[in-house]
Subunit: 411 residues, 2 copies
């Protein structure tokens, strides 16, 4: 059984952390100077691991094994949130490099083909999962026009960092038999249940409803209570009632959030004439998402019927369907986890989005999670124990060997 080098893995992670380090966190948004420096460094690490390495035309760092296929692609993203943690994405990239290197150094596994990817812009500084999209299909003009908060488009950013004329690395259907990614959980489930490894069965689907409240703007002094049509009052009632309705409609792991709230005109002495909320909800099961969507619509209808404010619910951002991971690949990860930590793993959905949302439409995908301390992520405080980091990488390596061996020698 090939052992990964835990100290080497951790040392590499600490170096990657230094690109954009800010306190205990990392600020390394896509196509920033720190991001591009990190990508150059990652390319050199992939070369060091024996891979033919390049930064491609959408910013992906890709290291291709010189072995013939069948090959697995391992990876994650190396860009961060505007105020990100040091492990979100970075750990999966360094795990992938370590697995490729460790297997390449071990004569018993040196024949196995492991390609490594550090995808660009999973976090959507410009366009979510940009690199993964470029790997499986053409980057269409709509994506090239997507902008960051400063108004720079993907096309302009690629020109700025010198990637406009660089070729895109593409998915090879005859070679690539699957994609594996290790990631921190970014939630508290593993910690709460005392498990070391999460075998990720799916990525939850996301839906969004925009609910608008249209009343009558008026003077907050001279308009008697019985004459008011106050958009904020209707919104408060909607927000309160929705909690009960969603709790009834939801599954055990569903989440729902009213994260964006606007009340207009927003002056203390004016009765609000307009309000709007964004209701976002997530579940791994499309049937549950349907029930939750109905609960939002019914709650809006009920507040509307009660009057006097007009309440309308419509779809917000385009729905994201749940992503189902490949059961065969998952079985290998589960077996590997059971061998390393008997009883210490659990099947679970991912509540956060990841590159397999894009990749899984083209090749089988699977993910494993390690615990996040306190469930914290997208925050400078994000962390995991060194023990869990090293264990996760070893389980990944074990699963890779098992998958590639069974691909040539069906089990």
């Amino acid at each position: 059984v090939t052992a990964i080098d835990g100290e080497r893995l951790l040392a590499g992670l600490r170096t990657l952390r230094s690109f954009g380090a800010t306190g205990t966190g990392v600020v390394r948004p896509t196509f920033s100077a720190d991001d591009m420096a990190a990508r150059a460094w990652l390319r050199d690490r992939m070369t060091e691991a024996g891979l033919d390495s390049t930064i491609d035309g959408v910013g992906n760092v890709f290291g291709r094994s010189r072995r013939p296929g069948p090959a697995l692609v391992l990876g994650s993203h190396s860009d961060t949130q505007p105020e990100g943690g040091w492990l979100d994405g970075a750990m999966g990239v360094m795990d992938a490099i370590e697995v490729a290197r460790a297997l390449g150094e071990d004569p018993t596994t040196a024949d196995l083909a492991v390609d490594v990817a550090a995808w660009s812009d999973e976090e959507g500084t410009y366009s979510s999962c940009l690199g993964a999209k470029g790997f499986v299909s053409e980057v269409d003009p709509g994506i090239l026009a997507d902008e960051n908060v400063d108004g720079e488009s993907v096309a302009d950013a690629l020109a700025r960092v010198g990637l406009t004329t660089v070729p895109h690395i593409r998915f090879e259907p005859d070679r690539h038999i699957g994609y594996l990614e290790a990631h921190i959980e970014q939630g508290p489930h593993l910690e709460e249940t005392g498990k070391q490894i999460g075998v990720v069965t799916s990525i939850v689907g996301i839906r969004q409803a925009i609910v608008t409240f249209t009343g009558q703007q008026n003077h907050a002094g001279t308009t008697p209570m019985h004459r008011r049509s106050d958009a904020a009052v209707a919104m408060f009632r909607f927000g309160t009632l929705l909690q009960d309705r969603m709790a009834a409609a939801a599954g055990p792991t569903s989440v729902w959030t009213i994260g964006r709230v606007t009340v207009e005109p927003g002056a203390a002495s004016i009765v609000p004439g307009h309000a709007e909320v964004a209701v976002q909800f997530r579940d791994q099961d499309d049937a549950v998402l349907e029930r939750m969507a109905a609960a939002v619509a019914e709650t809006a209808d009920e507040i509307d019927r009660n009057g006097p404010v007009r309440v309308i619910a419509r779809q917000g951002d385009a729905p994201i369907a749940p992503t189902v991971m490949d059961p065969d690949l998952l079985g290998h990860i589960a077996d590997a986890a059971e061998r390393r930590v008997p009883g210490g793993w659990v099947e679970m959905p991912s509540a956060a989005g990841h590159d397999p949302m894009v990749l899984s439409h083209h090749l089988p995908c699977a993910m494993l999670f390690i615990p996040s301390i306190g469930g914290v992520s997208h925050d400078f405080a994000e962390d995991s124990t060194e023990h869990d980091i090293v264990l996760g990488c070893q389980v990944l390596a074990d699963a890779v060997v098992s998958i590639l061996r069974s691909a040539v020698t069906p089990r």
Copy 2:
């Protein structure tokens, strides 16, 4: 009995409307070019009415009668809201000019002393009731530093319009025995009750509470419902519960409004960590205001106790105490109204703020209202019937004669 000239009054009002006319409304914010042009025109109208007229060092247009006292000051403001109606303030100014002119032209009343004021910035483009404050006391440096939305201070605006070195017209305690103002109601009470004249007994007091909700900002996908401390959910519950609590605490004419709502960070996929609302409430009775303040605090406490979000209520803008009008002056207005429209008048509080909030601390004040069509104000659609406008001015004139006659010949 002196008759005012209704056609002359309406013609003047239409001309004043032309300064800053925008559709059916008026945009004439304090110290704008339109506002200053209107003030120059008003000064000339006051001169035409036989008054010694000037624009003073805070922008007030003041016309002083050449008759010895006792004198009444009549007036209102000539500035408008950012998107104002044509009568708010303007009607009271033109009524005052018409009363001064009509009484001066009538040999039986030409001995009476009526001074006329068009106060500056009642609407608070820079500093609420700036002109009235300048009339009764020194303009302190804090007021001079108040800014409009473009960041121009009162001091800078006065310099720009050339008023920095111009003297301030001041309240004369030995001469001025009271202040009368006619105004549109800006609410629906007169129209709903079928009355033509409102005898304004008080201006409601205003209090404001700021309620903050402090939870834990978190990822809206990976944070399970049972681990959340969602500031928006607590805010929705507060807003809903407050409606019932305020209804129980309020008096028959109380109003309360949550007009300003912020939820942070305000992203659809982040559980809100912070929210804040401004609760404003008004009543003519300080005891009722106390009960309403207690209702806000108790509602906040209850949501806080229910957890997990921390809820704290604190005072917002400095409270404005109710303004009580002078009963003697009110009696004259009521008598005048009863003579013109028997049974067609009603005593009522003003739910909106007016210059007597400032002036009444220095001299007895009284106001009369005429109906607002549909109760609409602070809006281009603001309007009143010509009949009501002319009637209001006549009642004002009658009351002025009655007050000044009783001041020299006690009734």
